[in-house]
Amino acid sequence: MGDVKRKDSKVEGQKIIEAGYVTVNDLKKVGNIPSDEIVERYAVPIIDCLEEIPCTPCHDVCPTGAIVMPTMNDRPRVKWEACTGCTLCAQACPGLAITIVNIPFAKKMFKRDDLALVSIPYEMLPIPKKGDKVIVYNRGHELLGEAEVFSVIKSPKFGTVLVNIVVPRKWAYEAKYIELKR
């Protein structure tokens, strides 16, 4: 049982995480949740990536350099003002760790202040369609409620589908997984 203990690989992320999975609080601690002011003005990627692992696709795919990563092992940091909300990082991330929260779009589209558009990377069947009702879960598979699918992005380049759902704003950072309602 030579590899039971992994003392040397205690990495920052694992120290932060107490629940066994990332919580919004964990993300706040490391600066992965933007200020309220930013959220009102920009679409923001919420990146659940707290470990120093050698992985760069989100950084490589970003057209505006909004994801900063000096070496392949650094954790991604977002320059919020530089993000255009294009969602490429959410589609590229091998860990499916990125959701995009877009409040400016929800305000413009639905003329409401209490909604958010959240883009969720999805690789299961059946793939939801526009107008479908889905059940929304948080990171610990706790039920948040129901939501409607606003649109679905399918890019053959990534294979990961992006399901855009409209949720109450209070779920914006919590919504992480969906299931099609049958």
């Binding site: 690989s9 205690k10 999975y21 692992i53 992985c55 760069t56 392949m72 069947l125 879960y137 990534f158």
Partner: protein, 486 residues
């Protein structure tokens, strides 16, 4: 007489299973439908056959464990030929497949005569293994102008990349963000661009090595009953034989339905066959959680992923994928036994305390129809041992591994190692090691090529950077124990 069990997957979120012409095989007098690009083992599994053999002494039923030609649990008599590895033998129309009962069946009873053709061929570089390491090595060697042979015991090139449906970590240089299946295609295409330099030997097993003559003996199955006995003389060798999945000791671990997680992955992702409907996965490291995720993609309901450790050793983002889906992850849990009548039907699991002792009264029975073991891998170093390379036991690297120079030369001159055979790591590091070994294999025997030399330098630097992640601290430590100067 209609047995219409069909475990094939017809809809998948990521993969499209291209099944060629349907054919029929005879298994113990039952007619079973198969497709031309399936192996015998895959076709049997698709038809619901999970017992393939019996143990020699007690005649216990056994099923395949590895599905990649490394174990011996899928050996059957095919067309009268005994001890055929059904997991790497493609189906042919009208094939007969029978059980072997222990060792009572050593001699062939062929329907057709057996042909063996002997060939002696010389190469600059002989590479064993066509996974990410072997193919990357072949590309570098061919780029320098060398004549290269690539051997693989599988009929298909690409090693274990062909079943990796997830997007890879790493950087652009290691095709990060691309799925393993697609990386396999890219590497195979690149190898084919060098078809004047590279000879591919699929379905070929290395079986011996003459040290003084430096000749490798290999056995190629052209089709059942038709074989080539190859004496291959290489000026240099790259051994990229990969790894073998570990088993775990518990009563019932040999029941059909208990298999390596990689074996389940081969069935699900290469052949599009559900290995089980409700499996238990043991091991919540990267392999365990990734396979749980891929099972969900294949429409399989994973009953639980258990691990004896208090915290997962997986990348948190991989573990998070199944956590948010609600697939139960039971940490501090291990298996007591598996039970079932001729096949696995259930398992008893229990909780452990900080000292890995059983928590009294914590036993639970879980009803399942498969157990997938994701408890680590062991480097396949048999050929290196045969060649005389010095081997050392280094737990950090997965077990017995060869000593090597920074350019991956073993203690035998001009014999190189790359990929999981050198150290259990990643496909991306295997590609980089393949580049280094392939480049060195040609540069060492007199080829000159600036581009290849530069690629080698870049690959060495990339690996240094990759392994500076805290996740690879342990591997880095292990590598110090096997490093020798060239």
């Amino acid at each position: 007489m209609s047995q219409e069990i069909d475990k094939r997957i017809y809809e998948h979120p990521i993969l499209k299973f291209e099944r060629r012409r349907p054919v029929y095989i005879l298994f113990e007098d039952k007619r079973i439908k198969a497709y031309e690009n399936e192996t015998v083992a895959a076709a049997l599994y698709a038809a619901g056959v999970i017992q393939f053999s019996y143990s020699a002494k007690y005649h216990r039923p056994r099923g395949p464990f590895c599905m990649i030609g490394k174990c011996s649990q899928c050996l059957m008599r095919v067309n009268g030929v005994p001890h055929v590895r059904t997991c790497i033998t493609p189906v042919e129309d009208g094939m007969t497949v029978e059980f072997e009962h222990g060792h009572d069946a050593e001699l062939p009873t062929p329907k057709q005569p057996i042909h063996v053709e002997k060939k002696n061929i010389e190469y600059d570089v002989v590479i064993i293994g066509s996974g990410p390491a072997g193919l990357s090595a072949a590309i570098q060697a061919a780029r320098a102008g060398a004549k290269v042979a690539v051997l693989d015991q599988s009929p298909v090139l690409g090693g274990q990349l062909i079943k990796q449906t997830h997007k890879f970590f790493g950087t652009k240089e290691s095709f990060a963000g691309t799925r393993g299946v697609d990386i396999a295609k890219m590497l195979v295409d690149e190898v084919k661009d060098y078809d004047e330099n590279i000879d591919i030997y699929p379905s070929t097993q290395a079986i011996g090595y003459f040290r003084r003559e430096k000749v490798l003996v290999a056995f190629q199955t052209k089709s059942l009953g038709k074989y080539n006995l190859l004496n291959l003389k290489g000026k240099s060798y790259v051994i990229a034989t990969g790894a073998m999945e570990r088993s775990l000791v518990f009563p019932g671990n040999d029941l059909p339905g208990v298999m390596g997680a990689g074996a389940a992955q081969t069935l699900m992702n290469v052949f599009g066959i559900r290995p089980a409907e409700e499996p238990l996965i043991i091991g919540a490291g990267n392999v365990g959680v990734i396979i749980a995720y891929q099972a969900a993609q294949a429409g399989i309901k994973v009953k639980a992923v258990i691990d004896i450790l208090p915290k997962t050793a997986a990348y948190l983002v991989h573990a998070a994928k199944i956590r948010r889906m609600g697939i139960p992850i039971l940490m501090r849990h291990t298996v007591q036994e598996a039970y079932g009548n001729g096949k696995v039907e259930g398992a008893t699991v229990y909780e452990v305390d900080d000292k890995f002792r059983k928590v009294p009264g914590s036993e639970k029975n879980i009803e399942i129809d498969g157990i997938w073991l994701a408890v680590g891998l062991t480097p396949s170093v048999e050929v290196l041992d045969l060649m005389g390379a010095q081997i050392k036991f280094v737990p950090e690297l997965g077990g017995y591994v060869p000593l090597r120079t920074p350019f991956l030369e073993t203690t035998v001159s001009n014999v190189f190692v790359a990929g999981d055979a050198s150290c259990i790591e990643e496909a991306s590091t295997a590609m980089m090691e393949g580049k280094i070994a392939g480049a060195s294999a040609v540069l060492n025997i007199g080829f000159k090529n600036d581009k290849v030399e530069k690629e080698r330098k870049n690959a060495v630097e990339w690996l240094d950077m990759f392994r500076s992640s805290p996740h690879y601290a342990r591997i880095k430590q292990g590598l110090q124990k096997v490093l020798v100067q060239g």
